[in-house]
């Protein structure tokens, strides 16, 4: 540690707020991976791993990850729900690590940097269904 300026003080603050977003509950979005026994059996754990690796890689620590019990839709597991403040939750079913990577990029990398994308949600649409719970 060495002496800091008021400006560096602000930077530390932003860095920590970003890093600890999950603790303060003020993230950019919340991604829930449903993990009950059936979810785990169908590979939810790998989906979670892939998500965590991406978050670390893209330093998107303000994307909050939660694990939740299975929601009783075992045949469609692994299930992932994405919730952004003020928006309807979007649910993805039959996920695998590859799909997860794709969904993550689509939501948190591509759209955030405002790159024009064709067909917006592309392939992942096949796994998309409107949230009913």
């Amino acid at each position: 540690m060495s002496p800091i300026s008021a400006d560096q003080l602000r930077k530390i603050k932003l860095k920590i707020q970003n890093e600890n977003a999950l603790r303060y509950g003020v993230g950019r979005a919340k991604v829930t991976v449903h993990m009950g026994t059936c979810g785990i059996a169908s590979g939810a754990r790998d989906v979670l791993e892939s998500l965590l690796v991406d978050i670390a890689q893209y330093k998107a620590t303000d994307v909050i990850v939660a694990v939740d019990d299975c929601v009783g839709l075992c045949e469609r597991e692994p299930l992932v729900t994405i919730l952004k403040p003020g928006q309807k939750p979007i649910e993805y079913e039959k996920m695998n690590p590859d799909k997860m990577r794709h969904v993550f990029k689509e939501h948190f990398i591509v759209t955030e940097i405002q790159e024009p994308v064709e067909g917006e949600s592309g392939q992942s649409n096949e796994g998309k269904r409107s949230q009913s719970n």
Partner: protein, 597 residues
């Protein structure tokens, strides 16, 4: 590399440590390792959550779930069920004392829901040993603002407008003290933080020093800048090793960042702080005694015509404030005086931290807006009286505070209202007493504490307390005489007016307030030789009601002096001449056949 998906906020306050919190940490670490979760779940040891009776406490984020009273054997289940499968482990949640319902989140637990966290703003949220985490919660931004944008006078004006009054006892206006110290002539000026917290059972200052040491330090630096002080001391009670450790680490880190030392944040202002371990006596918390103690002399109060703000440490202008007072300062600078004064009462703005203990369902540390009623604190936050008993009195203000009866439960809690009732705010102790409390015995209990804690320097306090104790003891032993109450009042009056310091001046409170509100109990002891609450052992007798006795023999087994006789199917009998009134039989009797009269 994997991102961390969960923070496990393990309470590392003294209370939770005492109930095994750190062992739990090791076990949790090992279990996470075993299940391959070490790099996605992070354990953060935080400061005290204030709910110490239910420790160790673990809050799981981002799920916002709070687990209480955790045992090592609960850990494997917690990890596999909650952390891996996302299933909340219900049996480890807090249960509502009345409805018995499990409550998963902190915000839904009434104890937490009604609180207004300002001083305790970072409670359970940061690792007190990491300065960056404090900064992440707006820490030191008030200092940066004060140094860059405000003159010392502007700071004092802002504190004045906020109405901040000292949280250490007397409720002195903080800005007024600062201004006097600032304008007093002297080659150097000092600021001191009073972390002596001598009130038995109180732990609000400890929790702040342990759990958020930087909030106190930041307040002190701002205050020192406003006052023009170059040196600060934090006087910490002897019995608070963790507070000393965390403060010391915080000072080192603040120094490394240049937030203490020479030319703070490039402002040209220089200031540093040293920790001083307390002398160990209650009286050392008194301002002039505390300063004597810092100077290495006996911790005794000094004559009051010399103001410490003009001649304090080494005869230099010195400003002393309580831990909580200091911790409020950054908030005032950051959010402004209007925000600060937006809650509270006219004469007492902001919040106050209380340590709520005694006969309530939820004991712990609570921060509430000034002006909240005693009833709200005791019934809403405290969850009412334990075991459905009746409320009798609440003692506020530490050992020399007074007892307030049920008829005043709707009094708004602030400095002036409590004083009007014959008690005081003190530093925020709050002991709730139920119907089974003898008020004469309570008065005797506090006087017995004070008699050893008075420094003994001045006549009224030393001798007054001595005779208080003698008289109260004889009353509780059935030897009270007609006129004893009046004598107590006369002595108390002499102590209030004649004592050198506020210890002697306030020591009569427990006696005077119980006489004022519970005079009938004194009379019952003195005239009828009866203790209405059935507490004073010399005034009660134990007997077994033959109608209700089922002759189970339980009482016979527990009696330590073997004074209970009776055979199978024959109602048991207590021999009063041998009985030592230990209550053992009373506690075990399954049919409540043991009667105390």
């Amino acid at each position: 590399m994997k991102a961390v998906r969960s923070h496990l906020l393990l309470c590392g306050g003294t209370g939770c440590r005492a109930s095994g919190g750190m062992t739990l940490k090791d076990i949790l670490e090992a279990e996470l390792e075993k299940r391959g979760l070490s790099d996605e779940m992070k354990i953060v040891v935080t400061g005290c959550n204030g709910f110490c009776a239910l420790g160790p406490i673990l809050v799981v984020q981002p799920d916002d779930v709070i687990y209480v009273s955790l045992k090592p054997k609960d850990i494997p289940e917690l990890v596999s069920e909650h952390f891996i499968k996302g299933r909340i482990v219900k049996r480890l949640l807090y249960k509502h004392p009345v409805t018995k319902q499990e409550i998963p989140t902190m915000q839904q637990i009434p104890f937490f829901a009604q609180q207004e966290l300002r001083v305790l703003r970072n409670r359970g949220l940061i690792d007190p040993e990491k300065i960056d985490e404090y900064i992440g919660r707006d820490g030191y931004s008030a200092l940066a603002k004060a140094l860059a944008e405000m003159t010392p006078d502007q700071i004092i004006d802002e504190v004045e407008k906020s109405g901040l009054r000292g949280r250490g006892g007397g409720g002195f206006l903080t800005a007024r003290k600062w201004r006097t110290t600032r304008s007093a002539p002297g080659a150097v000026r000092y600021v001191i933080c009073n972390g002596d917290e001598g009130d038995p059972g109180a732990f609000m200052d400890r929790s702040v020093m342990e759990g958020d040491p930087h909030s106190v330090i930041e307040g002190m630096i701002i205050g020192a800048y406003a006052i023009g002080a170059s040196k600060g001391y934090i006087y910490v009670r002897m019995e608070y090793p963790l507070a000393v450790k965390n403060l010391a680490k915080a000072l080192t880190d603040a120094r490394a960042y240049g937030l203490l030392g020479d030319n703070i944040l490039g402002s040209g202002f220089s200031f540093d702080i040293e920790i001083n371990r307390g002398g160990g006596a209650f009286i050392c918390g008194e301002s002039s005694a505390l300063m004597q103690s810092i100077m290495g002399k006996a911790g005794e109060p000094r004559a009051k015509y010399i103001h410490t703000s003009e001649k304090g440490l080494w005869d230099m202008p010195t400003n002393l404030n309580n831990v909580e007072t200091w911790a409020n300062v950054p908030l005032i600078i950051n959010h402004g005086s209007a925000w600060f004064a937006s809650i509270g009462t006219k004469g007492s703005t902001g919040t106050k931290v209380f340590s709520l203990v005694g006969g309530v369902n939820n004991v712990g540390l609570v921060e509430v807006p000034m002006g909240i009623t005693l009833r709200e604190i005791i019934y809403d936050i405290g969850g009412g009286i334990k075991d459905d008993k009746k409320f009798k009195a609440v003692q506020t203000g530490g050992p020399s505070g007074g007892c307030i009866p049920a008829e005043h439960l709707d009094t708004p809690v602030d400095f002036d209202e409590l004083t009007k009732l014959g008690s005081m705010m003190g530093s925020g102790g709050m002991i709730v007493m139920d119907e089974d409390t003898c008020m004469v015995d309570v008065a005797r209990y506090f006087i017995n504490f004070l008699v050893d804690e008075s420094c003994g320097k001045c006549t009224p306090c030393r001798e007054g307390l001595r005779h208080f104790l003698t008289i109260l003891t004889r009353i509780t032993e059935g030897q009270g005489q007609e006129g004893d109450v009046e004598l107590l009042e006369e002595i108390g009056d002499g102590m209030i007016w004649g004592s050198l310091c506020a210890l002697g001046g306030s020591a009569p409170n427990p006696v005077m307030s119980t006489i004022k509100y519970f005079r009938d109990e004194y009379d019952a002891h003195i005239r009828d030789k009866k203790c209405p609450a059935r507490v004073c052992t010399k005034l009660i007798t134990f007997s077994i009601d033959p109608e209700t006795c089922i002759a189970c023999g339980k009482c016979k087994k527990v009696c330590p002096v073997n004074c209970i006789t009776g055979a199978k199917k024959v109602p048991h009998v207590i021999d009063e001449s041998i009985c030592i009134r230990c209550r053992a039989c009373y506690e075990v009797c399954p049919t409540d056949a043991v009667k105390i009269r």
